[in-house]
């Protein structure tokens, strides 16, 4: 997959959290890449490991309780080997992150100006005047009205949508090639969600940066992403260009997810599909065999691989294991 345009290449990444003396992988054997000028969406239920993956890429896991194995290559540089000091040079400059809760992710006792300016202080040699101009430019870029006034304000004085624009401005400050957006619209009203997504798309077109968009909202994926990776229980189960994923999903989990959102194919009054059970907790996760097996008990045992691996079934379309060949919804016949 690695081409000249590749920004981030994750190879066989495991991220384990410590409980007592044992490490349990929340992300297991994940390989994925992000190219320039691309929006890669990572979707999955809560607890599937998508935020853990994102946090690992920007290096914000607490090293005392986390074990990271595998490679995260950024322009050929393995980030997992970096010390804090070097990582800090990258963070905010090469890779930046947009968080879910715009109120919590801004410091309540610092002005908006100070919080955006901080990014510039540690990565540029701009003087006071130049930093002021840059902050003003950023606030204009993210569509904040009356930026001179907003600069002097504190987060609690802004609306949710405005706060998220500020968070985006912080992430954009140094024009980073890689932006990780962790559920950027989850905490916002639906109308504001659409505005923020449009903003992110505009910015991506302007800056040609690569964006990793973490979300559980398939609507957001359909609207914004170029490519999608579906995660389940710490693993990527399917990866495909966005139109392929929505028109020709293969993995049972992807199909179940898509089947559980309302669309024009559903008749009025028809009940939506519900995926049985829940994602098992980290300590109880089956480490062998197909992890989705327990949630589709009507599929016969022979359908599942001993050790399902992610493999390409068409150019750019990868699926884990072969159970998809035998999958059908409960009560339906095999196609």
């Amino acid at each position: 997959m690695a081409t000249d345009n590749t920004l981030i290449e994750v190879n066989n990444l495991n991220v384990g959290f410590r409980f007592g003396d044992e490490y349990y992988n929340a992300v297991e054997d994940v390989s994925i890449s992000l190219a320039k000028n691309e929006i890669l969406a990572i979707v999955g239920e809560s607890g599937c490991g998508k935020s853990t993956l994102a946090t690992a890429i920007i290096g914000l896991h607490d090293p005392h309780n986390t074990r990271i194995e595998g490679e995260i290559l950024y322009n050929g540089l393995d980030l997992t080997k970096l010390n804090e000091k070097l990582y800090n040079r990258l963070r905010g400059n090469d890779i930046s992150m947009i968080f879910q809760d715009p109120l919590g992710s801004l410091n309540p006792v610092m002005t908006i100006y100070k919080q955006i300016e901080e990014s510039l202080i540690y990565h540029t040699k701009l003087n006071d005047k130049e930093r002021y101009d840059r902050v003003l430019e950023l606030l204009n870029q993210v569509g904040i009205p009356k930026p001179e006034r907003v600069m002097k304000q504190y987060p609690h004085e802004l609306s949710g949508g405005m706060r998220q624009r500020v968070v985006i401005a912080i992430a954009l400050a140094n024009k980073p090639p890689v932006i990780i957006a962790d559920e950027p619209t989850t905490a916002l009203d639906v109308t504001i969600q659409a505005q923020i997504l449009d903003l992110m798309k505009d910015i991506q077109e302007e800056t040609e940066s690569g964006i990793i968009l973490i979300t559980h909202d398939l609507g957001v994926v359909a609207e914004t992403a170029d490519r999608v990776a579906v995660m389940y229980a710490g693993q990527i189960v399917e990866e495909a260009p966005v139109d392929v994923l929505f028109t020709d999903p293969k993995h049972p989990y992807t199909r179940s997810l898509l089947n559980s959102i309302p669309n024009e194919l559903h008749e009025d009054g028809e009940e939506l599909h519900v995926i049985q059970g829940t994602v098992p907790s980290l300590q109880n996760l089956p480490r062998k065999g197909d992890r989705f097996r327990d949630r589709i008990p009507w599929i016969p045992d022979e359908a599942f691989d001993e050790d399902p691996i992610l493999h390409e079934i068409a150019p750019g379309h990868k699926v884990r294991g072969n159970s998809w060949k035998y999958f059908h919804f409960e009560g339906e016949e095999m196609e």
């Binding site: 920007i58 914000l60 804090e84 000091k85 800090n88 040079r89 990258l90 963070r91 905010g92 400059n93 930046s96 992150m97 968080f99 809760d101 919590g104 992710s105 801004l106 410091n107 309540p108 006792v109 610092m110 919080q115 901080e118 990014s119 540690y122 990565h123 504190y154 609690h156 968070v167 912080i170 992430a171 400050a173």
Partner: protein, 320 residues
């Protein structure tokens, strides 16, 4: 900002009026009359009665109250029964001594509590954190007089670093530079003792606030900007963890001032606390009442200072 201060100052007025009524009521129930202790006990009872009437002893309560308030506003708090001088003369110089001691103690309290709280919160569960925890238990539990006597023994008697008693030297001429230096020097040991006794609450609060703050999302945002770890602690975390500390800064000061009653006694420090105890034991009511009023006002000013400091550091509670 100024609106907050002005509003807060206006709130103080009813507080002080209530306090004065309370103090007046207490004074009213005290035994004795305006002539107790200053008049020859052999004076004829009828003559005494006449004097009392002339002094307004039988006036209605509200008349007496307003007369008292009127006099107090003009700086007249009556005369000390025991020492035969106006109360203001007695309190004046000592109040300054006590306030100086309060300031030095507060400085010591924060000089110890802020680094202890920040570091034990940052490195929680480390050996340093455990040391601070033990320090907190000990400094919180130890009685004032035990620590004071211990310090007098170690620093004053064994090491001979500090004078152990008095607020000013009797031999150095007043008003000279060495005199003021000596005065400051004499503040250090009692100030340090009182300061240590006040650290536990602040240290523990700050530690818990730091532990809480370091998992907050804005800290993660700061990290994602590439802000160095030390700056994250000294700027982002400290400013947020400091908020509850800031709100107690005035109370710490007034608390230290009130609490210095024992310290002043033990260090034979010529302050209000010492005067307070002397006045109580000699039943010098006019002094006691004035001191109660004074301590009350100090507490009210303490909470005023707290509120102003809090509105300075926390933009969310400013009235715009």
């Amino acid at each position: 900002m100024w609106k907050t201060v002005v509003r807060r100052l206006i709130i103080m007025i009813p507080q002080i009026i209530l306090l004065s009524m309370l103090v007046f009521t207490v004074a009213h129930f005290m035994p004795g009359d305006p002539f107790t202790g200053i008049i020859d006990p052999n004076v004829d009872a009828a003559r005494l009665e006449e004097l009392r009437r002339a002094a307004g002893y039988y006036d209605p309560l509200h008349v007496q109250y307003f007369r008292w308030v009127g006099n107090a506003l003009q700086g007249d708090f009556g005369r000390s029964f025991a020492q035969k001088v106006p109360v203001t003369t007695l309190i004046g110089a000592r109040a300054m001594n006590s306030i100086r001691l309060g300031i030095v103690s507060t400085v010591f309290t924060y000089a110890i509590a802020l680094p202890f709280g920040m570091l034990s919160g940052r490195y929680n569960n480390s050996w340093f954190d455990r040391f601070v925890m033990i320090y907190n238990y000990v400094s919180y539990a130890i009685p004032t007089f035990v620590l004071a006597l211990l310090f007098i023994y170690i620093f004053g008697y064994q090491l001979q670093w500090f004078p152990t008693r008095g607020s000013a030297s009797p031999v150095i001429p007043k008003g000279t530079a060495p005199y003021y230096w000596d005065m400051f020097y004499r503040l250090l040991l009692p100030g340090f003792t009182a300061g240590i006794l006040g650290t536990a609450t602040t240290t523990q609060t700050l530690r818990n606030e730091v532990i809480d703050a370091k998992t907050q999302d804005y800290v993660r945002t700061a990290r994602s900007k590439g802000v160095p770890e030390n700056v994250i602690y000294n700027k982002h975390i400290f400013r947020n963890a400091f908020l509850p500390i800031a709100s107690s800064i005035g109370f710490i000061f007034s608390g230290l001032l009130n609490g210095s009653v024992f310290i002043e006694r033990i260090f034979a420090f010529n302050g209000m606390g010492d005067l307070f105890i002397t006045s109580i034991t000699s039943r010098d009511y006019s002094v006691v009442i004035t001191l109660v009023l004074f301590y009350g006002v100090i507490s009210i000013i303490g909470s005023l200072v707290s509120d102003i400091v809090l509105s300075l550091v926390d933009p969310r509670i400013r009235i715009e």
